[in-house]
Amino acid sequence: MIEKITSSPHWHNNQTITGIMLNVCLALIPGILCYIWFFGWGILIQCVLAVVFAALLEFVVLKLRQRDPYPFLRDGSAVVTALLFAVSVSPLLPWWASLAGIAFAIILSKHVFGGLGNNLFNPAMAGYIFILLCFPAYMNAWPPATGPGVASVNLGEYLDSIFSISGTAFDAFSGATPLNAMKSQLGLMSTVSEIRTGPLFGHFGGTGWEWINFSFLLGGMYLLFRGIIKWHIPISVLAGVFLISSVFHLYDTDLYASPLFHICSGGTILCAFFIATDPITAATSNKGRLIYGGLIGVLAWVIRTWGAFPDGVGFAVLIANAFVPLIDLLTRPRVFGER
């Protein structure tokens, strides 16, 4: 009888990719709940749509690549990509744009590079940037957040916006995001403090946005506590944003928003704990991770402040992804006993 010989070690800590991805999904729950509280049911529809599209496309592509699709569907990476994409886009986004983004994420930024583990760029961010460039009007408009529990758009209106082809429903419900407003009004020579008296702005960042960011922070803390992610990337992303925005804020408080505003607005926290920490596309050594995170933080602020788009997180992640091989090469740690 031929037995399969197993190789040492014969013990394992029982952690699996599926387990990691499941924990990431769990950690997203507080943020998504908070999102629903401020913006209504749109985000949930987006999540369901994205997950269905991602799973279908993953299955089809794996079949086309003549791989057994089940282990790769079970690993949950497509679900995490879909969820991160869904929480990054406007809850009003039409279904076909979501499909286009997910298709770009799964096919062109994941499987074309060789599938799970081989992609150079974060699939969720690549998909997000793809539709941001193709359909910018749909990406920078959110329903206005009026306050906790009072969504300005109800379920029926969300369904209208997401499933109608014309886009008229979308135009009816959407408005500028706080980051968008900050950018356009700064362009109109208003000062930061004037702009922040507007109804879109809350205590630290945008109304609602600050609480959503705090909820994502809670989920991020869970991931840190469970050892799913390490502190290096989240801390360095936040430190990068904080440092560069502080310097410019101190230089001119009228022209540059405060560091707290930058951290509590847009996707900063989501990026720091959930997107930049994607191990596949991040640097691998601790020193490399600090450089990588810092780069994302600084780039995100630079693009927000001087770029053409209100939020620079997605671009920052993709640019930093491209630097990862170089960072890894330059931060190769010394070997034990090598002086």
Binding site: E3, K4, I5, T6, S7, S8, P9, H10, W11, H12, N13, Q15, T16, I17, G19, I20, P71, D75, S77, G115, L116, G117, N118, P279, I280, A282, T284, S285, R332, P333, R334, V335, F336, G337, E338, R339
Partner: protein
């Protein structure tokens, strides 16, 4: 039995505070020790088996050469195969009996290959060959002790099986600052050293003093893990001011040679180098006990402690004669092999899964584990999480090594210090993609070794060819000029060279001894 001590450095421990502060090594894992299964049970003597298989290679280096033929009668402790070169040790008969065969039989090597074994059928007498003790070891020359240690077939009993005398010879050629006796049995479930220490503490302490004399070491440290309180107590009762007894925090692989040196001295043995390069010689406790036996009785290695644990009825430590089949050991512990189980020789982290239970216990066999044979989870692609690098005690980049070995880029793998990998298994233990990393590294290492052997063979052939050409040319030239051939000159040179070398070595030894006088 005192309660286990809490983890950490023992600055408030009266014994340790006086001796040395401990350092921490990188990486490593906290594993469930599972030692309580066997470490409180007295070991038992394994009965004589029906047949024993004595592999000619139980050590690192060249295999021994058989000195007996089938049909010969031998006595216990008699040399049946002699050492073949410097890095080699002899093999002794584990009991008295008849040699029935010399042939290829399964042995517990990592590749599961058959190897040349001498088969011995015990006669039941267990009659000893003539052996004699070395009186007053501290008055004899260290070189004599080293010869004795080689002649008794003593190798590193911790697992690697490196001939002990080679480490000792290096010790004579290089000044030894510290001798470490390694009782840090860090792999889970294995308790053979813990039991040996508890039952034969005096052998180890005396053996440590003998090795110390043999390498002329300045300091001698005996180290145990802090989850071995009974072993610590047993040794503490015997050590004197001349030896340090140290507890090191429980963390796998704290008992690895380089890791233990770092813990005890804060020094790092150089990458690709040996401990002796930083003035340290390290031996296992079982090796120390074997040296004690060799010196006080002239006894070669004929038996060892083996832990039998896992899914057996009576998990316990056995004192097993070398060459006893694994199957017999398992039967002694009340185990009948079943298909749903697998047999591992060694620990759960570094052990070898074996399928043929007729293979023998050899000098380096420390443990036999029966585990449930579950199908391994599917190997997924690497997601670059970096957990492997966090736990690697050699501070390697297991992930990069994996990419390179998988792609067959062996040169790149060497550049990433493949040969500094100690195969401890920490990386594969934490890999969420279930990649059998150690398996890939082992394959790459043996591929590189095979390639180097091939190229060495080619080099040798080339140099032989050149030599032959030169010789023919010289001979032709000699014939023409009527000179004598160069062969004689060569011989004279060689003799002079050897003499000069001996004198240099003597002078060096004198120099080293001078400060002590």
């Amino acid at each position: 039995m005192p309660p286990p001590l809490p983890r950490g450095l023992y600055f408030n421990d009266p014994v340790q505070a006086m001796t040395r502060a401990l350092h921490s090594f990188p990486g490593g894992l906290l594993l469930e020790p599972q030692k309580e299964i066997t470490d409180r049970k007295m070991s038992i003597l394994h009965p004589l088996p029906e047949r024993m298989f004595l592999p000619l290679q139980q050590h690192i280096g060249l295999p021994a050469e058989p000195k007996v033929t089938a049909g010969d009668k031998v006595l216990k402790g008699q040399v049946i195969a002699q050492a073949n070169g410097y890095v080699s040790v002899p093999v002794h008969a584990s009991t008295s009996g008849k040699i029935t065969d010399i042939g290829m039989y399964p042995t517990p090597n990592p590749l599961g290959e058959k190897a040349l074994c001498i088969v011995l059928e015990p006669d039941g007498e267990d009659a000893w060959f003539e052996i004699k003790p070395t009186e007053k070891y501290d008055t004899v020359e260290p070189e004599q002790l080293q010869r004795l240690i080689r002649d008794c077939g003593i190798i590193g009993l911790g697992g690697a099986g490196f001939p002990a005398h080679v480490k000792l010879m290096e010790g004579v050629d290089n000044a030894v600052d510290t001798l470490i006796i390694n009782g840090v049995e860090c792999e889970p479930q294995i308790t053979c050293d813990a039991r040996l220490i508890q039952e034969k503490a005096d052998y180890i302490v005396s053996g440590a003093r003998m090795i110390r004399h043999a390498v002329q070491a300045g300091h001698c440290v005996i180290a145990v893990e802090d989850d071995m309180p009974a072993a610590y107590e047993a040794l503490a009762a015997l050590v004197d001011d001349d030896l340090e007894l140290v507890r090191v925090p429980t963390r796998y692989p704290a008992g690895g040679e380089k890791q233990l040196i770092k813990t005890l001295t804060g020094k790092e043995a150089p990458s690709g180098g040996l401990p002796i390069h930083i003035g340290i010689v390290i031996h296992n406790v079982a090796t120390a006990a074997a040296v004690f036996r060799a010196v006080t009785r002239g006894e070669p290695i004929v038996s060892r402690y083996v832990t039998v644990t896992g899914r057996v009825n009576n998990p316990i430590n056995l004192q097993v004669l070398i060459g006893t089949p694994v199957k017999d050991c398992l039967e002694t512990c009340g185990y009948e092999h079943r298909e749903e189980n697998k047999v591992i020789i060694g620990g759960p982290m570094m052990g070898v899964h074996v399928t043929n239970l007729n293979m023998p216990v050899i000098k380096t066999t420390n443990c036999i584990i029966i585990e449930e044979n579950t199908a391994p989870l599917k190997e997924m692609p690497c997601i670059r999480c970096g957990n492997c690098a966090d736990v690697c005690p050699a501070e390697l980049l297991p992930q990069q090594l994996y990419w390179h070995t998988k792609a067959g880029e062996l040169d790149a793998a060497k550049k990433y210090h493949l040969f500094d990998c100690i195969e401890c298994g920490c990386c594969a233990y934490v890999c969420p993609s279930q990649i059998p990393l150690v398996h890939y590294y082992r394959q790459a290492k043996s591929q590189i070794a095979a390639e180097e052997k091939r190229s060495r063979g080619a080099d040798l052939a080339r140099s032989r060819f050149m030599q032959k050409n030169n010789r023919l040319k010289n001979e032709a030239a000699g014939e023409e000029t009527g000179e004598t051939g160069p062969a004689d000159d060569g011989k004279v040179d060689k003799k002079a060279y050897v003499k000069a070398a001996i004198e240099r070595s003597k002078a060096r030894r004198q120099d080293r001894k001078a400060p002590d006088d």
